[in-house]
Every structure is written in structure tokens, then in C-alpha cells.
Symmetry: C2
Subunit: 376 residues, 2 copies
């Protein structure tokens, strides 16, 4: 891992680019804002580390009062458990023998570790592995909110719950229902209708569990896009929010309860710095951040700084981007550094090794993106 | 960097997924095929390491007879120079003081190192830095083939060449003209017309250099998509081909001199293995490779194995993909491993730490993707 070692105390504008910068005060405020809202709703946060891929931020979230931490993959769970984090939930099924063995190693260090299940055969394999290791594995029934990515249909949730409850080395914790496909619906009203529709059906499964005396302490779901909406579901216990920490153009451009066209509650803490490297055209300049520095997904990055300048980022290949200028734009000379809000934070963070932490434009710390590349 | 250490000698189908696999024999053959073609045209190869990001493959290319090696960024040059590779060309302008200092460090270890220049002020800065370090820096005039990403207009090439030739610590090597925007034009005939049009204009600048007694040993350009086309330009000295080593769906789906709808000369050496993790829907299954394992660019990955199965990959979020099945498809059970050709090799390779090398489906080696993430 290569990064600039001697930059603490210097201006962020002197950082080598392209690089990711995180505004420490905004990050902290975003974590507090979400925690305050969710606590006021008498619910908890189980934040998703797939967004920031950074055990340091996960630790900050836990210290702010979160009930546990979500990851998408076993390799991410390993990374957090190695750093001493406890209460990890793996939000995708773990199906191969090799991964189940690694899951058991994590479980031996984090007895509260949980995994979702959406298949009876998989439940049997997990039970056998836990039994072999003399461990109890906490599992949630994964419910499919209509998109089919993972999870069982709502109508099959109870049966899978009963099956799991009968397996001696599994401990049924409840259900997961994560409606990823509704998080970015632009209209807040439409997003509310769609999310509540799915989450109410999941809540009915929770009711079936209780009526059948099945354990169901946990009903986990929701994302940053539905953090206010899903809190209206009484049965929901915790929210798997992730992007609220860093934010990105994709989220900022959807409506919210505060503004029909902007998501305003969480300002962007994550930005990317990029440098002008070619200035031979009248209407644009070329910068050093392309597809390999800004993941091409979720819309287009936008120029945060210089602000109000009318400058626009456009994709321009793997290695470079271009900044469209106008007559009213400031002059962009060779070497000028610009600050962008990324289009989609999760996969963009996954392109870098470190986050440069800044306060008042001064670099105060460097945090490793230690879960970077852990897609297994 | 985490990877499976104990997999040498095992079947590739037992690798933990998602992971990148490289067929060693196909890679070797692709390197030989390109070398043979270019040598027969009395030209040379200066392959682009931005594709594979792997110093081991760069070394193989050099051993096969390449004349040097291209990189897009200073951080990549550092990685190759550290491994002892010589003759590195940085194909984008290097403009900031910090990067120019690092360039000088590379130059002190690789006296043949070259960089492109598209700005008179930048030439002056490079000259001053080289003078300060008591070094001579080889530079090429970067010519813009109409896309404006980097380079000066053809009409300004000679003037910049003369300016550079007068700077005592710069050594003018010739010109670069890389037409990135024509490489993927689907029709071979149209691509030929477009590329020859730009490259002939660059060749005229070479003629102007010679008529003015300016040094011009090098006219470098071309990519995998134009490797046959650009060899017809007499003035061209070397080809900056990259993707031919690994290949991807984006290139395979363009026409070639052999087939109007397929690029057939270089079979895919790079593939991605992915595992079925959810099977609750009748018409598709979910696999463990999403946007963070397959870069979302250049079209869609396709299923290579099982072959002829009619299975189709579709994007399905950051962490997962889905495989569309049909009545005639083989049954895809939980844990089944599929092999895909990636959509765009360059940014996908940049998502992983290692390449698993296989021969006859057995893992024979693990190569670090040691330039991964070096976008600075």
C-alpha cells in the first residue's frame, strides 16, 4: 500500500491526486444525525460496512451506539473480526464449504456473529459445520422484497424459520428484509409507498414467527434512502444504513422528506481530489481521475470546489476525466486541483487504499480502507 | 493482500470466488501472436501495462521482444522501475511538482524512461527538474488525435518539438499519437478509415520533424483494436497495445480482419470465477460477483463455462450478479461455479490483488497485480 506518509498537518490541496478525502467533522455529524433519528424512533442501527470498507469508521459507528455491523462478504467479516469488532452480520448467504469453514473461524472469535439463510440445504450445511466446531451460529431468515437477489418469498419465511429452529447448532435470531431496489427511487412519496409495501409484508412474517413461538428478536433492513420511512414499521428493530456516512451524487440527487429534489440531511463527507493535466481545448480541461478512480455508476460526479462555478465532470476513459468549462468558469490552469463528489460511494471507495481525513482543509489522519478488495 | 496460498496444484474450480484467473498458455500465445505480427511488419511493441497492472506480465512481454513498456501514471512507473523494468514510457502528461520529483527518482533508475508533453510550460518545468538532478529526460510530443484528452493539435506539434529540442536537459525522442476513441469502432472497415485518417496526420508531423532536422526516432501509438490497421503507416515505429494479452467482451464483440462481427485473433486469457449463492427464482440464479468484482463498463460479461449453455450474466448490484437461465440451461445448484469473460479487462483487473494462473484447469502460480490501485 503506497500513500503519502508526510502529509499530516498539510493542506488537503497539496495531496497527490487522484485521492479520496473524508471531512472528519461531517462524517462525525452524519453518524450523530442518523443515531439521533433512529434512537428517537426507539430503533437501532446495524450499519453496513460495505460502503466505507474501513474498520476505523466501523469502530466510530459502534462507539456512537450501533448494535452491530453488517458486511456483504465473509472476507469483510474476517477483516472486522481481526480488528476486534463484535456483532458482525453477513447479509448474503454463505454457501461453499471453504467459506463456511472461514465463517466458523470468525464465529469462534465473535460469538454474536450472524449470517442470513435463504435455503434449507444451506441451513443444514451451516448446522453441520457449527456442530462440528462445537459452536452455535446465529442465523436470520433472509426475505426477498420482490427483487429476487437473495431471500425466500414471504410465503416461505415461516417454514424456513421453523426448519432452522429445529437445527440444534443454529440459533434463530429473526429476519432480514433489505429492499435495495427502492433506495434510490427519486420521489420521496413513491419511495415511501414502495418501501412500506415490502416492509409491511416482511412485518407479517415477523407476526407469523411470534404466533408460532419462533424466536424473532431481530427484524433488520432499510437503507439510507428509506431511513425515515422504514422507521414507521413497528416490527423493524434495526437499520442497515451505510451511505449516510459518506454520501454521493446518486443519493444527493433523490428527493427527501425535507426537499422534493435533494437529499439534504447528510452532506457529503467523502470527496475526490483531481488535478488538471491538459489544457489544450477551449471548452474543457482534462483531469487525472477516470474510471479507475471514480467508479462509473450511479450518475456523474459533480464539482464541489470551486463551488458555484458551473464546472461539470464528464467521463473520459479509464485514466482521465474532463471538466467542461464555460465563459463564467474560473480559469483552470495546469496543476489546478478540483474537489468532486463521487457518483456512487461504495464501489469508488473500493478503488483506493486509504482515506485522507481532513478538518478545516488540513490533513489530520490517514485511515486504511482495510476491507478494500474483499469481495469474496 | 489476502489470497489463497495453498491452491497451487489444485483445480481452478476449487478457488474461492469471485477471483480472476489467467490461462497461462493463452496469455503466452497472445503475446507471441502479437509479437510475430508486429515483427513481420518491421515494427516494435511498447505494450501498455495499464491493462494487466502486473509486473510479471510486463516482464514476459519484454522477454518476448518488446522495445519498452507503457504506463498511464507515475505511480505505475514507480512500480515497474522498482521491479527492475527499463524503458518505461508514461503516456500522460506529468504536471505537478510532487509528481515531477517522483519522475526524476524513476529516471535516476531507468535512464531510458520517457514521458509525453503537450504544453510548453510543462516542458520548461520538466527541463528545470532534470537540470536540477543532473539528468537528461527523454520526452515525446503528445499529438491529439481529435478527441482532446491529451496532446497538442497536429498543427502545433512541430513548434512544441522545436521548443523541447532547445531545452538542454530534455532529449526529444519523437511523437505519440494514441487514438483511444477509435479502438472499439465495431466495423473493421470504419475503424480502419478512422484510425488511418488520424495516424496519417500524425505521420505528417513526423515528416515535419525530419524536414526540420528534429530528432524523431519514435512514433508510438495504436491499440489492440487497430494493431493491424496502424501497421500500414510507414512512419509508425511501435504499438502501445495492451488488451491483446487478456482480452474482454468489449473487444471480442467488435469486427476484425478475420470476421465482421468478432475479434478472433486473441482468445480471452482472463476470466472471472463466480459462485451461485441463491436459487429461489425459476428464471435466474444469483452469483457472488457484482460491480465490485466485474467493472460495470464496456458491455456485459458473458458466460464462457459451461459453454453453449445460453446462460446470460446481468448486473445485479454492487455485490452480486444474476445468471439468466432457460429451459435448456444446465441446472445451476447452490455452490456451482461459473466462468465469465469480463466486460472491460483494464478496470476489472484493477479491482483485484492477484491473478491465479492456470494450465489445463490446474492452478500453477499466483501473480500479484502489483500496480493495482496505482492511479496517481
Amino acid at each position: 500500500m503506497r500513500h503519502q506518509q508526510n502529509v499530516i498537518g498539510t493542506s488537503k490541496w497539496e495531496l497527490d491526486t487522484p485521492c479520496l478525502v473524508i471531512a472528519g467533522d461531517i462524517l462525525k455529524k452524519n453518524i450523530q444525525t442518523m443515531q439521533a433519528h433512529v434512537t428517537a424512533c426507539a430503533k437501532q442501527i446495524r450499519p453496513h460496512a460495505k460502503t466505507h470498507k474501513c474498520s476505523h469508521i466501523a469502530q466510530m459507528q459502534m462507539e456512537a451506539g450501533c448494535t452491530g455491523i453488517c458486511v456483504a462478504k465473509v472476507a469483510e467479516a474476517e477483516g472486522l473480526v481481526e480488528k476486534g469488532l463484535q456483532g458482525v452480520l453477513i447479509t448474503s448467504p454463505v454457501v461453499t464449504d471453504y467459506k463456511i469453514e472461514r465463517l466458523m473461524k470468525c464465529l469462534s472469535r465473535d460469538r454474536e456473529l450472524m449470517v442470513v439463510v435463504d435455503n434449507a440445504g444451506n441451513a443444514g450445511k451451516l448446522n453441520a459445520a457449527a456442530e462440528k466446531h462445537g459452536l452455535k451460529l446465529n442465523v436470520l431468515v433472509d426475505l426477498d422484497p420482490g427483487m429476487g437477489r437473495t431471500g425466500v418469498p414471504f410465503s416461505e419465511g415461516l417454514a424456513l424459520g421453523k426448519l432452522i429452529d429445529n437445527l440444534p447448532s443454529l440459533r434463530l435470531g429473526g429476519v432480514q428484509c433489505y429492499a435495495g431496489h427502492v433506495q434510490h427511487i427519486s420521489s420521496f412519496a413513491e419511495r415511501s409507498r414502495a418501501s412500506l409495501d415490502w416492509m409491511k409484508q416482511a412485518a407479517e412474517v415477523v407476526g407469523q414467527f411470534r404466533a408460532s413461538d419462533l424466536p424473532c428478536k431481530i427484524f433488520t433492513g432499510a437503507g439510507t434512502g428509506t431511513f425515515e420511512i422504514d422507521c414507521r414499521i413497528p416490527e423493524l428493530t434495526d437499520l442497515q444504513v451505510g451511505s449516510y456516512t459518506m454520501m454521493d451524487a446518486e443519493y444527493i440527487n433523490i428527493g427527501s422528506s425535507q426537499d422534493p429534489s435533494r437529499f439534504t440531511q447528510f452532506p457529503p463527507a467523502l470527496t475526490l481530489l483531481t488535478t488538471v493535466i491538459s489544457v489544450n481545448r477551449p471548452n474543457f480541461v482534462t483531469v487525472d481521475a477516470g474510471l479507475k478512480a471514480l467508479y462509473h455508476h450511479g450518475g456523474t460526479p459533480y464539482v464541489l470546489n470551486p463551488s458555484g462555478s458551473g464546472l461539470q465532470y464528464e467521463w473520459f476513459g479509464d485514466e482521465q476525466g474532463r471538466i467542461i468549462t464555460s465563459n463564467s468558469s474560473p480559469k483552470l490552469s495546469l496543476g489546478k486541483v478540483l474537489e468532486l463528489v463521487v457518483s456512487h460511494c461504495d464501489p469508488t471507495v473500493n478503488l483506493f487504499d486509504v482515506l485522507y481525513v481532513v478538518r478545516n482543509e488540513i490533513v489530520t489522519d490517514i485511515w486504511p480502507i482495510d476491507l478494500r478488495g474483499k469481495c469474496q
